[in-house]
């Protein structure tokens, strides 16, 4: 091969089209904002129905998770993320999708080694490092306070 790996890297970079950054950001902003606004609307509705402040937050989370899992089951959430990117994967609905999708996919391998073992295939790292990060923040808070 008369092209070095370094030279080839430059050729590949030139030949590879970039992601559409501006369009992706705009879509993420609109859809992510819409999901959050919807959450805020639910928050107000639960408040009007007489839920306490603590209860309101929990009910919003539960409702959004339920809806995202349902939409995942209907096969539409991946289309939404394809359109909106981080706008649909960063909110709590994206987390629900990350748990529901492997649960559906690996059901074929049974409820123990399939659903049970693989359900947190994608969400697992988020939980592990989310817990770790909260511990670190907690420690800092304890000493700095």
């Amino acid at each position: 091969m008369n092209v070095s790996k370094k030279e080839y890297e430059v050729m590949v970079k030139k030949a590879s089209p970039n992601s559409r950054l501006a369009a992706n950001c705009a879509r993420a902003f609109v859809v992510g904002g819409a999901i959050c606004a919807f959450g805020q609307m639910l928050y107000a509705i639960f408040g009007a129905l007489g839920a306490s402040r603590d209860m309101q937050g929990m009910l919003v989370a539960v409702t959004l998770i339920f809806l995202a899992a349902l939409v995942t089951g209907l096969g539409k959430y991946d289309d939404l993320v394809k359109f909106a990117g981080a706008g649909a994967s960063v909110p709590i609905t994206g987390f629900a999708n990350a748990v529901a999708a492997p649960a559906i996919e690996f059901k074929k391998e049974g409820y123990i080694m399939g659903v049970g073992a693989k359900m947190f295939l994608i969400a697992g790292p988020v939980i592990v490092y989310g817990t770790l990060a909260s511990m670190v923040v907690g420690l800092i808070y304890y000493f700095v306070r």
Binding site: S19, R20, D78
Partner: protein
Amino acid sequence: MLKRYGGQTVLFTKPVGIMAAASVVGPKEGEGPLGTQFDRVEKDPMFGAESWEKAESEFVKTAADVAVKKSGAVMDDFEYIIAGDLLNQSTGSIFGLRDTKRPYLGIFGACSAMGEGMSLGAMLVDGGFASKVLCLASSHFCSAEKQFRFPLEFGAQRPQTSTWTVTGAAAVALGSIASGPAVMGCTTGKMVDMGVKDAHNMGAAMAGAAADTIAAHFVDTGRSPDYYDAIITGDLGYVGQELLLQLMKKKGHDITHKHRDCGIEIFDKDTQDTHSGGSGCACSGVVFAAHFLEKIKRGDINKVLFVPTGALMSPTSVQQGESIPGIAHGVVIENV
């Protein structure tokens, strides 16, 4: 007489006939530009099975049945079946061919499986070890996503350099024919590692191998691109094609007007959202069987260098930071 030419090529003294070929694809491929040319378009990507893996096996089984039927022979006439796919332990091929009760050779060459299978099959026939060999290659978008990337319903954006795994299976029946397309020889590819680590840019990972094999073929045989009516790669896609053409020019061959890529032919990137093109073992197989082989039969093109390409990687190798070696196997097909 030694049939070996140069470092990587064999040329047969007697052409090995392509008795028949079959292509069975999924719905998305059926909606593509070649939709009407496939033997069968299955509307249900699950193919009536319970899982993506079982569905892929159904595609394999159906392609085998169609090819055998078109060849005018019966399954028991085939002395060998050679098959390859992308799934762990060749799940697609094995369970699709389990009931054939024929001597089976399972191969892995990633998406180059059709080229590897046809090369080995033609050598078996030319060597006098078999009179009929059935070669198969398969892939399934959903089983490939599940194994190599994410569960199907998990939301993620695909980079523009990524390719779309073709759902389907192809089968080529090799044996003797009176006239028509035949395998004249093959150039077996070396693994070529260009240092690409991006599993979403497999065209770039494979272009070096394709260029290496095509150039080796010219060196070994003393031929030039002018000898061929078309040089057809497997699944380089738009990114890989651009890189291949550049690499070939650096090697002193301009194949711009001869080059076709099955991954580019199978989907319409503007309407089907497939980004850089199609990929998977089935990609080169079904496009060759349904499209290019028919063109050769009609005499539109007569001499073809068919070069299925593969990216030799696994999720584990990528996660462990390995770069992706490419491979490409050249098969010479001519009208006799």
